[in-house]
Symmetry: C2
DNA sequence: TGTTAGCACTCCCCTTAAATGAGTGCTAAT
DNA sequence: ATTAGCACTCATTTAAGGGGAGTGCTAACA
């Protein structure tokens, strides 16, 4: 059987209607809703075909039709290539200069949630490929050294080190110069054992501190790698009856709080993002069990220096794909303009 | 009417039983449950009295009794003064040294949630009265200065400042000395305009930078003041049927995500905490609308240097007050031992 | 005077049954 | 190819009934 133009139109009408109402949609509705001027009986025939082809299905005998994952997929794909959406307002959202990535991301998650009425998540940029920009040791207290580590993109990590020996200013200065000379501008995988050995040797009796700093650097990177995720609008779940029953809501909320799975999800979206960087996962496509009744739209953004992060929007399968994709596009554009290269 | 010993015992039995089951408890149950050896009829009479006195009530005619807020209050008060709970294990929770307050708090919230099966929230210590410990300016890039601000208790804030003039190392060193000399050891409200004027004068052409740093300090403090709140275990709400219906769950989850109200709640608990620092709010006592069916137990902890924070545990009114108070006590003790003075 | 047994009564809740109605599949006519 | 018509299905709603847990009250008992 073949998916002719009329079938497409009907399918689209079914999906549209279902997106609006959340209720299974019957033939009579379609017959009036579209400009096809077909009777409900004809629609019924076509819908039977569409069901056979797997685009829609009945939740139970003699109920209206609901789009299947396959149906959504078709709809989304069609929509994606068709529309190059208008850039939404949202310009004011990013106007203020941010020193802090964290604040920016939190805010972004919140705005998105507010805007779309879905749950949102956003992963911080990953610094894997970033270069070390600056290291500074300072004596804060007797026996306490503060190590400040700045990574490309102005991601800053602090680390308090405890030392036994008393360090005078001169020694500290030397160590600072040593560390910066060797490590500055290197990315993580460029720091090797040989280099560390040389540095330790040059540090003489203070080699222990060098070790600690290196550890701190490694830890800072690692901390950045098991990436931070910010979420917002999880309670929007309750807006959609098909997700709001106790069982599902509980699982979803849990998933959102634990963030572990979200991380993997975003990670995957991030790595396999294609040209546009926008990806749509429908139902089981996410691999996350608790989200099998949801759809997820993700967008990868870049902040220069190879740092990439991912935004995800989670809603019911009948989410307004159109709007969501548009919104994400707009944000991408904004971020690119501000930080992109 | 008077609350004699037997009435107390019966009331306690009713509450205990209700805590366990979550169901209204009838006279027959009590008659068997307690060691009073009274028939259900007698219990009925007593329960009628207790109801008249406002300690318990029936959700509907001919149902068992449920403790009222007043009833809970009595129970909790009695329990609080009676028990000086055993210090729970939980020792291992805090063993690792933490450089980062944030990590510690998050972890703590999580452990608590896990342990109690309720939702938890924890506010970061407030630095209002804290003293400035250390300031360091470093050149990170051409035109970019990193200001690191350390506050008592090793709370560290970073701030990137943009500068137009090129600063050589010597100037930076001078500025560092200047700033530290003047500001070191001062608490926020001890920094006044006169002092700033003097510093600016001494900084000469670089007075602009001094201004910026001062701003950064102020901002760092302010950021710390509209306090961070970490939550965990919000999905535990779903464990308790009386909170899990769509309406209530949605509101609660929202409250927990927005954190605004939680902040006020913790704030209040913090300020009016009495001797022990542990406080119990039952039902409407919290002032937070969405929590009118919950109880909240809060504990204020101190981390030295006048920095105080508050932990809160939110559960159904029938929460296991005993265990919760015990757990919080234990944590308080631990924190005191580790950081307290 | 306090305690208990007995009994009628209340009311939630669960189950069952019937009514409703939206929607389908099929057939025959156009 | 399209449509009208009809029988049929089945989730959902509504009503009714039974069960049962629990109460309040009264009368009897120690």
């Amino acid at each position: 059987m073949e998916l002719d133009e009329r079938k497409k139109k009907i399918l689209q009408a079914v999906i549209r209607n279902y997106l609006e109402t959340g209720e299974p949609v019957g033939s009579r509705t379609i017959s009036k809703y579209t400009d096809l001027n077909l009777s409900s009986a004809t629609i019924r025939n076509e819908m039977a075909d569409l069901e056979e082809m797997g685009y829609i299905f009945q939740p139970h005998t003699s109920a209206g039709r609901i789009p299947s994952d396959k149906g959504y997929r078709l709809y989304v794909d069609a929509m994606m290539e068709e529309k190059e959406r208008e850039v939404v307002e949202m310009r004011d959202m990013l106007v203020e200069r941010q020193d802090k990535m964290e604040t920016l991301l939190k805010q972004m998650a919140r705005v998105l949630a507010q805007n779309t009425q879905y749950a949102t998540m956003i992963s911080a940029p990953q610094t894997k490929r970033s270069k070390l920009k600056f290291i500074q040791l300072s004596r804060v207290d007797a026996g306490q050294i503060l190590a400040v580590i700045v990574i490309q993109g102005n991601v800053i990590k602090n680390n308090i080190l405890s030392v036994e020996e008393e360090l005078d200013d001169e020694t500290l200065l030397k160590l600072n110069i040593l560390l910066n000379t060797y490590l500055n501008g290197l990315s993580i995988d460029e720091i090797n054992l040989a280099m560390i050995a040389v540095m330790k040797q040059q540090a003489g009796i203070h080699s222990a501190i060098v070790s600690e700093v290196i550890d701190a650097v490694a830890e800072a990177i690692r901390a950045e790698e098991d990436l931070e995720i910010y979420t917002s609008g999880t309670n929007n779940i309750f807006r959609y009856p098909e997700l709001a029953d106790q069982q599902k809501a509980s699982e979803l909320i849990n998933t959102f709080e634990e963030k572990q799975l979200l991380g993997e999800l975003l990670q995957e979206a991030h790595t396999q993002g294609e040209e546009t960087g926008i990806q749509v996962y429908i139902g089981a496509e996410t691999q996350v069990q608790s989200m099998k009744d949801c759809s997820v739209v993700t967008a990868t953004y870049e902040l220069g220096g190879g740092m990439k992060g991912t935004i995800g929007i989670v809603g019911p399968k009948r989410m307004d794909y159109d709007k969501v994709v548009g919104t994400l596009r707009a944000i991408q554009t904004q971020l690119d303009e501000l930080y992109g290269k």
